[in-house]
Every structure is written in C-alpha cells, then in structure tokens.
Amino acid sequence: MNKFSWYEAKSVEDALEQVNSTLSDELYEPTQKASVFKSGGIDVFDWVKEGLLKPQKIINIRNIPGLDQISYDRKEGLHIGSNVTLAEIASNPEIKSQYLALHQAVNHAATPQLRNVSTLGGNIAQRNRCWYFRSADHDCFRKGGDRCFARHSETGENENHAILDNGTCVSVHASSIATALMAFNASVVIANAEGKQKTVQMDDFFVSAGEDIAMENILQAKEIITEIILPPPSKNTKSAYIKQVARESYDWSLADVAVVMEVSGNTCKSASIVLGAAAPVPYRSVEAQQAIESKTINSDNATAAAKAAMTKARPLSKNDYKVPLFVSTIKQTILEIA
C-alpha cells in the first residue's frame, strides 16, 4: 500500500469537512491527492492493496458516534445506521421476523470474519468485482480506459458478468444485500457538507453505466451515507431471498433474487422483485412484477413471471447459463412466499 495519513473523524460534519474525493472519482481519474472515507475498509483497502487507489489521506468514519444503531418501529419501519455491521444485522431478531429476505441476504454475504467488520453503508457503496476493473494490468471504461476486455466474444472472461442492461458496461453490482434492500423499497439517507440531508429511494441511489460510467451510485465527494430506512411491513407482507453461488461455503453471487409481496391468501396483491448479479446495478424486474400481480401464487404463474423477467436478457459469450439459472431461481423464490 502507498503511504497515506489517517484522520479520525469525530462527527459527520467533521468527516465532510476533510473529504475531497470519492473512491469512484479517484479510480476514474487518479490524482493521488484524494482524501477518501473508509469505514469497515474492506473494499477501500482492497483497492489500495491493488495499487489502483493511492489516497493521500484516509478519513476513518468507523468511530463516528450515532451511526451504529438499529431501530425498528411498527409505524416508522426499520432504521439501520450506515456503520452497523453485517453481523449485527444478521443477529437482529426483529429483522429476521419482519424483513426475512434481508436477513437471508446478509447471512449469505461474505464470511463470518468479514461480516464482523463490513458495514451496511460500505456494502452498498462498494465497487463491482469485474476482474478487469480490479486489475492494474487491464484497461476498463470505468477506470477512464478506452476498451472493455470482459465483453470480447472470444477472450473475454465474462462468465460472472451481466445479462441485462449490459450495453455500456458488463459488470454486475457486488452487493447482494442491495438486492434485498431494493425489494423492500428501502431508501438511503445522505448528508452533505452544507449540513443538508436527502433521502433517496434505493432505485435512484444506483447509477446505470449508461448514465455515468465512472459511478455506480449517486454519492458525490462531499456526501456521506448516514442511514438506510426500510418501510414498515404490513401483516400481509411476505419476503424471500435466494442466492446461487459456485461453491457452498461462501462466494460472490452468480444470480440472486429477492421477492417482497403483499399477499391476500394465496394471491399476490403487489410484488417487488429484484435481481442481483444480473446487471451493473441491482435490477428491478418490472416484467416479473406485472406478470405475478393479481395472480395466484403457484408453479405455473411463478414460471411465467420468471420467464417474463428474462425477455430482455442479452447474455455474453460465456454467461448464457445465467438465463435458465435466473428463471429457476426467480420461480423458486416466488414459491417460497406461498
């Protein structure tokens, strides 16, 4: 790692005064003068170790008081501070009973060691895992380069890559927890240096590659995530989450699906269906939602919804297996609700 100084932020305001860049900005156009945030630090140190991020200063936001609380209220919903660790979410009994898909997604993310350190804010702000993006030896549009090695039809190692919305960048978003958060219609609270706060829906937090190739989310240099809010579930809200991986112990997602439904008996009143590892950002399948809404939750209707989700799929040279994998995983996740 390059030499950097270390700043212990004492408050959100203090941290916002110190920061001058984002991980995304610095990866796209390195200045080597960046002062960037780190909390759990897993993603930031990864980039520094690869030599792709050479910060001048790391601002430690991990110990800022007040960002590490979980609170649940039947009217207010669930508030999770950005510094809450994945392990704390996994062991929270109210999250398990009220937001099952989130509990399941967190339990399948990373390893016990990483869950004890990784924070929710850092998890949704981490950059994607495309090996060309993360390799110092390869060009990539997201690093200001002029080509994409992953897309190449013969030499591109793209088996883990995107099958939807992959026209500009073929990476998939790294956070499988975001898949569940988006399905619950979560929102992200962001504070800025002017002392203002804004709350954005998860759907609007992520930035498609076509909109801005340098970024995967809307965070600007003088902004910080303070909490993530999930609306309260009703008596009839049910949720499920399934993640497919190459090995049993732990792995990055090949295909993950979160379904949150309002049900009446065995009928779907409304559905929120989000796919992970399908597109450069978590992908809300409006097609699948429309296909299952007002229908009985059974095998035929679940299959129809799953197939509808894949109508726009455009696989790359080595990942067409993801289409049937998503069809079966979406179907299975919907049927878990029933």
Binding site: F4, S5, E8, A9, K10, D14, A87, T111, N116
Partner: protein, 211 residues
C-alpha cells in the same frame, strides 16, 4: 533482484531459529516484545475519536494483545496482520491471500473473529486483540487445539491458526454445536489441502469435552 533468494547459505541462523520459533509460538503465551518508540512520536490517544490527523510516517500506538498492552511504531498503512507478525513477532497469525478471502489471518477483535490483513493497526484503538498465541492458557492447550492434534486436522498447516481461531470461537460461544454450526463457523476459512472433514470432526469432539 536481490541475492538473498539465491543464496540461502548466507544467513545460516535464520532458518533454524524460524523453525524453533514456530514450534514454540503455538504453545507459549505471548512474548512481550516492546518496540522502542521514536522519541518524537506522537501518542495515539484513547478514545480514538479525536478529529486529528496521524501519519503518514510511523507513530507509536498502544495495542492490547493477548492481555498485554504493547507499544509499537507503525504507519497508518500497516495492517493489523503486519503489526502482529512484523512488529510484535507474533508470527502464528498467517497471511495467505492478503485480501480477506481465506481467513488464515483470523484474530479476535474484542472477542470477534476478523481478518487482520484487511484492517489498519490504527483500526484497533482501545479494542483488545487475541491471536493464536493467546489461545493456550498457562501452558495448557485449548480443547480445540488438542482435538486438532488428536484428529490430525492439519496438513500443510497454513490455514490451521485461522481455522483454530474460528473453531475455538464457536466452541467457546456455543456449548453444543452441531456439524452445520461448525461449517458455518469455518465458512470463511479456506484449506487448500481439503482437510475440512477432520477439522469438523476435531471441533465436534472438542465441544463434547468442554461440556
């Protein structure tokens, strides 16, 4: 290229002391190595939340490791794994992938297993570190360590310290674990020799002994 790789004979004392040290490190409690502190070094104050900038050059920090508070001179870029191995000579903690993927570097931070390779020594603050050297108490191996020997749960040995840390944490916190619990506890620990079945067997056997 440096010549030392091509000329292992040039430092004859090294290899011998390394082997004997490793053999001893598994059993002994922490050796109290006190790093000489720079006379001009700043003290890294507790609590951590200071609104101050440190580094990039080394400063002296205090760290409680295996029950003993130590001073060491480290830069902000010094990982906890490097602080333990290179500064405090606690080389029982292994660094293999150096990216948080294999968990060979597992230590406890206030009793919770973490990857020491993926955090700065500055992240520790006033929290307490436990390393593999701190698992045996008063010269007595932990039941998990004894069971690893008894059930031959180690092959090349690189994953073993991290594997033991995960299994000790499980057995100390769950008096009656089943196979699924052991699998969950060791999900992060990669063993390229594939000795998982013996690790599971040893841990379940150790749990029975501790009841």
């Amino acid at each position: 290229m440096e010549n030392k790789d091509q000329d292992p004979e040039s430092k004859p004392g090294k290899t011998i002391s390394r082997r004997s040290f490793i053999r001893g490190a598994g059993l002994s409690t922490a050796s109290s190595v006190l790093m000489t502190s720079n006379a001009f070094a700043l003290e890294y104050k507790e609590p951590l939340v200071t609104g101050k900038e440190f580094g990039p050059d080394a400063i002296t920090i205090k760290m409680k490791v295996n029950g003993i508070t130590k001073s060491l001179s480290v830069e902000p870029r010094t990982t906890l794994a490097s602080a333990l191995r290179d500064h405090l000579e606690l080389t029982g903690t292994k660094v293999v992938c150096d990216r948080g993927s294999c968990s060979a570097c597992t230590v406890y931070l206030d009793g919770k297993p973490v990857n020491s390779c993926m955090m700065s020594a500055f992240d520790v603050g006033d929290k307490e570190i436990t390393t593999i050297e701190g698992i045996a108490k008063n010269g007595e191996l932990h039941p998990v360590q004894e069971a690893f020997i008894e059930h031959d749960a180690s092959q090349c040995g690189y994953c073993t310290p991290g594997m033991v840390m995960s299994c000790v944490h499980l057995v100390d916190n769950n008096p009656n674990p089943n196979l699924e619990d052991v699998k969950n506890a060791t999900r992060g620990n990669l063993c390229r020799c594939g000795t998982y079945p013996k690790v599971f067997k040893a841990t379940l056997a150790a749990a029975k002994k501790t009841i």
